[in-house]
Subunit: 210 residues, 4 copies
């Protein structure tokens, strides 16, 4: 990768991280070992890794020289390899935390009938049936990466995978595609979460007979 292209991507990544932080999808360090809160990332906090997770190139300033890639780098690489994609993004939101736990027993979350689904790559109708698999969380990265790989292989059409009580992994050909997938999936998870709460209240009181 040329120096110039790398710098453009750094700046794009910083912007994506800030937008996710502002929406509350990347608070704290979101479980990574880095000491830098996501909302205050700068170009110097972006590390460029090769396909084995080794840092390549020079960080934008000396202070970053001692930084190590996130422990979850392995997961990003595994997903990029399996899906043959250019960008993998990972967020921690309240709704993915809650719903990945509530739906863990079923092994995934089913999304169907929403116009918003058409924002997922290759989807052309709201009647699309999307299954987002949920895998158990694990601090053993090779084991977690195997679990994610099995989920991706079993559901080759899935646009994302959830780690239980941890967060969302999604991807795309470009960083823009991956960010669009985050926005769409977070929107849909919030929608099904709020609807489940309302349907409970409504059914009890006969406000809606369906």
């Amino acid at each position: 990768m040329t120096r110039r292209r790398s710098a453009g991507l750094q700046s794009q990544l910083v912007d994506v991280s800030r937008r996710c932080y502002l929406r509350g999808w990347a608070l704290g360090t979101s479980g990574n070992s880095s000491a830098v809160p996501k909302g205050r990332l700068g170009p110097a906090d972006i590390l460029e890794c090769d396909d084995r997770g080794e840092v390549v190139g020079r960080p934008a300033n000396g202070a970053a020289a001692a930084r190590k890639p996130s422990a979850e780098t392995l997961l990003h690489l595994e997903i990029a390899r399996l899906r043959q994609t250019g960008a993998v993004l990972h967020t921690h939101s309240v709704w993915t935390t809650v719903l990945s736990d509530l739906h863990a027993k079923e092994g995934g979350i089913h999304l169907e009938g929403y116009e918003m689904l058409k924002g997922l790559a290759g989807v052309t109708s709201h009647q699309h049936r999307e299954w987002i698999p949920i895998v158990a969380n694990d601090q053993n990265m090779p084991r977690l990466a195997r679990r994610v790989r099995r989920a991706l292989e079993r559901f080759p059409e899935a646009h994302a995978v959830l780690l239980r009580r941890h967060g969302l992994y999604t991807w795309g050909d470009t960083l823009e595609d991956a960010e669009r997938h985050i926005e769409i999936l977070e929107f849909l998870f919030e929608s099904i979460g709020r609807q489940a709460a309302l349907e409970g209240a409504d059914r009890r009181h006969g406000l809606h007979k369906r």
Copy 2:
């Protein structure tokens, strides 16, 4: 339309789109086929169409030359023609997604008794009775446009129409009027959504006997 007026409208449209994006009413590409997330629209992403949906004038830069109008352009034009309005806006919010599904059986959502209703064009009292029809979503645009037309003809006083699990269409003489309608209707949908959840909880426990 003169070049100057057109440029002013482009910039206004970009601002409206950003405000809607920031409130979470236009995440992702919100189902349109454009690759540009709504929060990062620029003037070059605004296409000027004539009343048959054909692009007119030159986009603000060359890069946009290859862009096509949204597949839903037909719907915007149909509404503008039927309501004789200058501006039609379309948003996708969590509350319109959830409530358009919960109220689909009744065919619409009833709003009455809210001071906020007075922000709708021509409404002078909170006692105004507003009925927002809900139509089934469809990827067949001519069929969806017919369905919307029938709803508008049947409810000539309606200030908006909901597409089930898809979003809100509203309009106004000016872009400012249409944006005000979005804000008012989104506010009211959130209010009835939250109240339905609370009334469920309250009635069960005798906190409010009504």
Copy 3:
């Protein structure tokens, strides 16, 4: 009032309005007849009135010359006179809309035991007992103003009054005091709203025996 002090207040009012707009407490035109959404107010949109509601001084630019004060000016003046305060603010939020309706039968909302109450003028302990009266909404301004006056006279300690399904009126010696009251009351209304929903869910399932 000197020209300079007036200009300072205009700019403060514009800032307060924008902050309220950003929090969703002043969407649309919030029921007033002005055509300017609250988030895009400028100094020229602020009208200076005397204690009978007549516009005094010259607006900051000619365009505003034709503007009339809000229909609710009478209410602001009545409250300022009765409470002898320098600033009266009015917001429309989702939580005040919902809770002013759910508690209308009791005639008010009771707030007690919250540390946040200490931000209300003159309150020194969380054990303070605040009663916010709710009055029925009305398009007849003199009648609504009388209703508000009776509520203020009956509850001389109240820091605010709610109009049912309409919004909140609160006040303070300075604009800063009034804005602080808005923030505190909106916070407390959201807190009791969310707690009521949770207590419903929790009690049903024996998660909390209280």
Copy 4:
């Protein structure tokens, strides 16, 4: 402390306060006696105190000369002494207000199984078991400080303490660490709050048998 380091900290504190204000975690004056809303703090509003709570150094401008430290300074100092930390932060959010009341009987809130826990200092697995003690609120500061001290001594591993219907105290070696703890804990409180509401709705309707 040198003048330069002090100025850097002032500016950091102002930034942290603004971020907390924007998220709704520090509205109003959040119960402190200061007249300055947290979202509009400037460097002149930051007072430097010694370990007995006495103001040291000169405030950044003359206007602040008459300001007194918050009544809760004692609590900050007690926590800093007991935990041997460099930074103590205090916020008032809707979720800590609601949950500190709902869980008051149990004396604390239990957090376990969340990846986000790894953002707490020294925590390396989502299986970490965190207990956040809740103490009764009190306007008698020495008594409240004793109560907080007993909680910290009884739960030496706790990363934070909740004051019932008042808010959160957390800390860290640096201001950045303390702010990260706020973000993580607020995220987790919102998650358990929303999940409790949903589990209620879901269990009632057999959507999830767990």
